[in-house]
Subunit: 408 residues, 2 copies
C-alpha cells in the first residue's frame, strides 16, 4: 500500500564527495513507497530551505541527471550551518504541516542530527504525525553508534593518496620537510587514514599527529629531527585541530602571536605554523601543503564502497521511515569476519545528536606520533581498498651500482 | 648498426606526474639503438649523481616495473636543484669520459637545460665526443621554443579539476570566499588553466590572477566584493608568484609585515595572506586552499595525452641523439588544424637555457582578473580534454518551486 503525504529531504553541514548518493537513495526508496501524486521535495540550503520555503522538485531529474549528481561533489540541494532553536523547529514543523509533509530526512553530521532531533520533538509536541530520520554524513567520521560515516571513506582515500603522492615527490627531491594539513577539528580519524599511504615502512607520512593528543613544540621538533637524521626527508601529516601542551590550537597559537599588516590576528594555518617552527628552530627548510576543502570534494578520488554505502544507508533509512519509525539515524554495522561486509541499522537521534566519537587512543602509537597498523584493517575497506603503491626504482636496480669501464 | 658507448640519463628540478614517462622513452629508444653490452645508467639525484658517481642500471627493470614507474609521481632516479658551474661541468664530463659514456640526457626545466648546455660545452672544450640532449619537463610550462612542456598538462588537469571540485563545494555551502593557491612563481600558464574548471559562466573560479601582472590590494578587494555581491560566494585562483603594485611578492609582503612568535619572518603563503586581507578589510569570512606539491604529483588526475607526449618526446630526443646530433632540447610542435596533433622537433640548448616563456598577456582579460576563453583551445588538449562538468540540480528542477497543498 502506498503511503500518503509528501517527503522533504535536506542536506546539512559540510558537504562530502558522496552526499548526493544518500540523497538519491532516499529519493528512489520514497518514489517506490509513496503515492505517485505525493511530492518529494528537496529543501534548498539545508533547514534554511524549510524556513524560507525554498524547494526543488526531486521527482524531476532524469536517471541520467541523477547519475551525474551522484558523481558530483558538493551538496546538490545546497547546505547550511544553522543550529536550530526549539522555537524555530516548531515553526518549521508548522510550515511542513501546512503542506502535509509526513517524512522529513536530514542528511548530515552531529549538528544536523540535532536539527533532526529537534524537528522530531517539535512534531511530537504538536501531535503532528511526521517521521524524522537522520542519514549520517561526515568526513570527520565522528558520529557515534555507527561503524563509520558516509563521506569519510572518500576523504580518507583522497588524503591517503595525496600523502603517497607527496611522499613520492618529496623523496625524489628532498624539501626536506613537508607538512600536510588534514581536515578534522576534533577527531583524528581522517588524519590517521594517511597511514594508508604507506606500503614500505619508510614511506610517507613519517609522523602523524591527531587532535586527540596534545602536541608540544619540543616533542614535535625532536620527532622531525630524528626522522630527518635517519632518512634525509620528512613528511608529516597533522590534523588542523591539533593542540599544544596547554590545550591551545596550533592555529590559535599563531593567531595570538602574529598580527597581519593591518593589526588583525591572522587566520591560523596549522601546517604553515608548524613548518615555520621547523625552519626557525631546526634550520631545515620546511613547507606546508593544505588541500583544505579539496579533501572532501574530490569525485575523481572517491571510494566506490563509500559511495555505494552512502546510497544504501539512504535507502535503508527511507525504508525504515516508510515503515512508520521516527526519531532515528540510520547506521552502518560492520559484520564480523575476514571479508568486509556491512548491514544497516538504526540508533535513536537522542544518542547521536551533538555527540562526537573521537579516534580511540588504542590506534595511536606509544610515542604519540604515529598510527598503529591495526588501524589499516578498520580504514582500508572504507577507503575502497588498498592504494596502488608507487614504484621504487631500487626494487630491481642496484642503488650503489658504481660502474667502471672494466665492468662492461 | 648499433652505436657504441654508454648512456647516462638524469632528471633535474621539480618532478612532475609524468617525468618518468620521458625516462622510459629514452631508455626504450636507446635500448634499441646501442650495443647490447653498452650500459644505460640512471644518475641518482640529477647531475649530483654524475658528480658523486651514483647510478642505477636502467636495463634491469622489468616491463611490469617500468609500467608502475611510469604511473608513479616523483622522479624515479631522484632529482636535485643544482646550478652547475663550468668547472663542475668539465669535471663531470671527465668522469663520464673515463667510463666511455657517449650519450648524456637531462630531463628538466630551465635550470636543467643550463646544465645540459654546460655539459655540452665542456665536452666540446675537452674534444670528447659525447652527445648532450635536453628533454623538456616543467609544470610551469615556461620553456621557450616548444608549444608546451610535458608535466604541464597533468598539473593543469589536477588544478582545473580541483577548482571545479572546490567550486561545487563552496557553492553548496557558501564560505563565502575561498582562495586557491596555484604553483608557478614566474609564469601564469598553470594558474590560467583553472579556466578549464568552468562549464557555466558563473562557475568557479570567478577571479584568476597570474604573476605576469601586478595585483594591487584595492583592486583585488573590489574584484572580490563585486563577485560576492553578485553571487554570494567567490572562488579565486591565484598564482603563488603574484606580486603587488610595487612588484613585491604577496608572500614576501607578508614576510615583511609579519613575524612569527620567535621573531623570524613567516613563510609566505599567498592565498592565506589574501584570505586574511579579505576577512579584515571586507568582513567576509575567507579561507585558503593550497594543494602545493600535490599539484604536480597526482597520478590519479594525470592527463593521458601529457603522459603519452612525455614518453614520445623522450623517444624522439633519444632517436635524434643516436643520429649523432648534440646540444639540443627536444620540442613539441603543435600542428595547425581543428584536431589537436603534435610532431616533435629540436631547439638549440643555447636558446632555451635559463629562458622563461611567460603567459602571453593576450590571454588575460582587460580588467586583469580573468583569463579569456581563447586559452581553452590552447590548454584543454594538453590537460587531456574537457573535464566532466559537475551536475547542477537546477538544470532540471525549479529553483523556486514553492509548493502548496493545492499544488498536489
Amino acid at each position: 500500500m502506498s503511503r500518503i503525504g509528501d517527503v522533504v529531504i535536506a542536506q546539512g553541514g559540510g558537504p562530502t564527495a558522496v552526499i548526493n548518493a544518500s540523497l538519491l537513495g532516499i529519493v528512489r526508496e520514497a518514489t517506490g513507497k509513496i503515492e505517485t501524486r505525493s511530492k518529494i521535495w528537496g529543501a534548498r540550503g539545508g533547514i534554511l530551505g524549510v524556513l524560507k520555503n525554498q524547494y526543488a522538485d526531486l521527482r524531476k531529474p532524469t536517471d541520467e541527471l541523477w547519475k551525474r549528481i551522484v558523481e558530483s561533489p558538493g551538496a546538490a540541494l545546497g547546505s547550511c550551518r544553522k543550529m536550530l532553536s526549539a522555537e524555530e523547529a516548531t515553526g518549521a514543523v508548522r510550515t511542513l504541516r501546512e503542506k502535509d509533509v509526513r517524512y522529513f530526512f536530514y542528511i548530515g553530521g552531529n549538528d544536523s542530527m540535532d536539527t533532526a532531533l529537534k524537528m522530531n520533538r517539535a512534531a511530537l509536541d504538536l501531535r503532528y504525525e511526521m517521521v524524522c530520520c537522520g542519514i549520517p554524513k561526515t568526513i570527520d567520521n565522528d558520529l557515534p553508534h555507527t561503524d563509520h560515516c558516509p563521506g569519510f571513506g572518500s576523504a580518507a582515500r583522497y588524503i591517503a593518496q595525496s600523502a603517497a603522492d607527496l611522499g613520492a615527490d618529496v623523496r625524489s627531491l628532498p624539501t626536506p620537510v613537508s607538512i600536510l594539513e588534514v581536515m578534522g577539528r576534533d577527531a583524528g580519524w581522517l588524519t590517521a587514514a594517511t597511514l594508508l599511504a604507506r606500503s614500505h615502512p619508510d614511506d610517507a607520512p613519517h609522523l602523524i599527529y591527531v587532535p586527540e593528543l596534545p602536541l608540544a613544540s619540543e616533542k614535535f621538533l625532536t620527532d622531525v629531527q630524528k626522522v630527518y637524521d635517519r632518512l634525509g626527508w620528512v613528511v608529516v601529516a597533522v590534523s588542523e585541530g591539533v593542540k599544544d601542551e596547554d590545550g591551545k590550537s596550533w592555529g590559535a597559537r599563531r593567531n595570538e602571536t602574529i598580527m597581519d599588516g593591518f593589526g588583525h590576528p591572522m587566520t591560523g594555518d596549522v601546517a604553515a605554523t608548524l613548518a615555520s617552527l621547523v625552519t626557525s628552530k631546526l634550520g631545515l627548510r620546511a613547507r606546508s601543503e593544505k588541500p583544505g576543502l579539496l579533501g572532501r570534494s574530490s569525485a575523481v578520488m572517491v571510494s566506490l564502497s563509500d559511495r555505494r554505502e552512502a546510497e544504501e544507508v539512504g535507502t535503508f533509512g527511507a525504508s525504515w521511515a516508510m515503515q512508520g519509525n521516527t526519531g532515528f539515524m540510520a547506521t552502518i554495522e560492520r559484520q564480523p569476519g575476514a571479508a568486509y561486509r556491512v548491514t544497516y541499522g538504526t540508533a535513536p537521534l537522542e544518542t547521536v545528536a551533538n555527540q562526537t566519537r573521537l579516534l580511540p587512543l588504542e590506534y595511536v602509537t606509544e610515542n604519540h606520533n604515529d598510527i598503529k597498523e591495526e588501524y589499516r584493517a578498520y580504514a582500508e575497506p572504507l577507503a575502497g581498498g588498498p592504494l596502488e603503491p608507487h614504484a621504487r626504482l631500487e626494487d630491481e636496480t642496484s642503488d650503489r651500482a658504481n660502474f667502471t669501464k672494466e665492468g662492461h
